[in-house]
Amino acid sequence: MSVRITLATAARVLRQLRRDPRTLALVFLVPPVLITLFRYVFDSQPQTFDRVGGPMVGIFPFSTMFVVTSIAMLRERTTGTLERLMSLPLAKLDILLGYGIAFACVAATQASITSGVAFGLLGLDVQGPVWLVVLLAIANAILGMSLGLFFSAFARTEFQAVQFMPAVVFPQLLLCGLLQPRSHMAHALEVISYALPLTWAYDALAHAVSGRTGAVVVRDAAIVVGVAATALALGALTLRRRTG
């Protein structure tokens, strides 16, 4: 493991993203636009916007980073650059952490813009501290990145990689409690929801926006980070020095 290579990789990934302004625009503009839509869809129920809007700010980076990472990593695999990297003196962790740092920066920017719009312009009202929402958003981004990295190993084409989004992200969105409290779901779904990382990510955000910032948020965040680390370790297993 080398700090030099990790930082060089992070800088390289960010430079690649900067060369793709359209993707950056989508990453930074779609969440505030969606949250604005959301605000006016619930125009007559501001309390619903307050309840759901805060967690949404923190969940956008999860789905964004999942897609961006799985496609970026798929490109590394299909263009042969990953094979080249694997034949060079660097550790797998250098690549993974490099990506992690780069996407954490993107996630922090995305979450700041989205919360700026939500809290500043749309009057989203939460009891908890805004910085905690942004911090949890970054943790969720890293979770999305790790899962994207892992799932990219199972996609051969970008079409397939994009389809992992509805396959992996949507069910978690449905079951995490954002749309409906989990206790109101069919019992089997509630049980399943405990096994899904986004459930804990949402739980942390829901607690944070309702002003409960104690041990429960720390526990939820620890689960999110733990799953992210596990997915990263599994992702490392899919980066192979030797292939058939």
């Binding site: 030099r4 390289r12 690649q16 080249r84 990297l85 694997m86 060079l88 020095r241 030797r242």
Partner: protein
Amino acid sequence: MLARVAAVEIEHLRVVRGGKVVLPDLSVRVERGTVTGLLAPSGSGKTTLMRSIVGVQRVAGGRVVVLGLGAGAPPLRRRVGYVTQAPSVYGDLTVRENLAYFARVLDVPPAHVDRALEIVDLAPLARRIVRTLSGGELSRTSLATALLGEPELLVLDEPTVGLDPLLRRDLWETFRRLAAGGTTLLVSSHVMDEADRCDRLLLLREGALLADETPASLRRRTRRETLDDAFLALVETA
């Protein structure tokens, strides 16, 4: 006399890919400081052999020793340069950004970037986004990346595909110059006039070596004037 460690020493290499035996039992030796041409019809196991030497190919049996170490051993990652047939560089970065990144990974001084650009004659295009380059420029960028760390062994898979004759000649002069400086080169090609510029030729067909000799001895043995004819004669009698 001091016994020199060979650049590559392969004994009974066996590789199976997707249930198909690509290399059944291959033994070969490549001396240091030479340019060895690897010639083969496509699908003969050329790339598989190169990947085995670089240590990125899963092998089913045999021994591949590179510069005295097992192929793929961590210390070799600095000492062996590999250029795949498809240019493996980042399309959305400039030529220089690509090289600068790999230079950071290899921990070589930035001056090596300029030197590598000079060697492949890409200095004027250093600021171009790689995606906008022509095929030949693209493969030269990939080659420059492999030159950064001044590797002792360069494994080049079809480095001159898509290059015009002038550039091909220049590149082969570069290869000769690198070899004169002590670098070992293993170059695959399907262009026979390039084969004539090699010290030694390996002819591979269906995973087996048909020839391992100098261009001159290959001509003598097959009693053919051109390497093209010699190659065909060997393939047809095999």
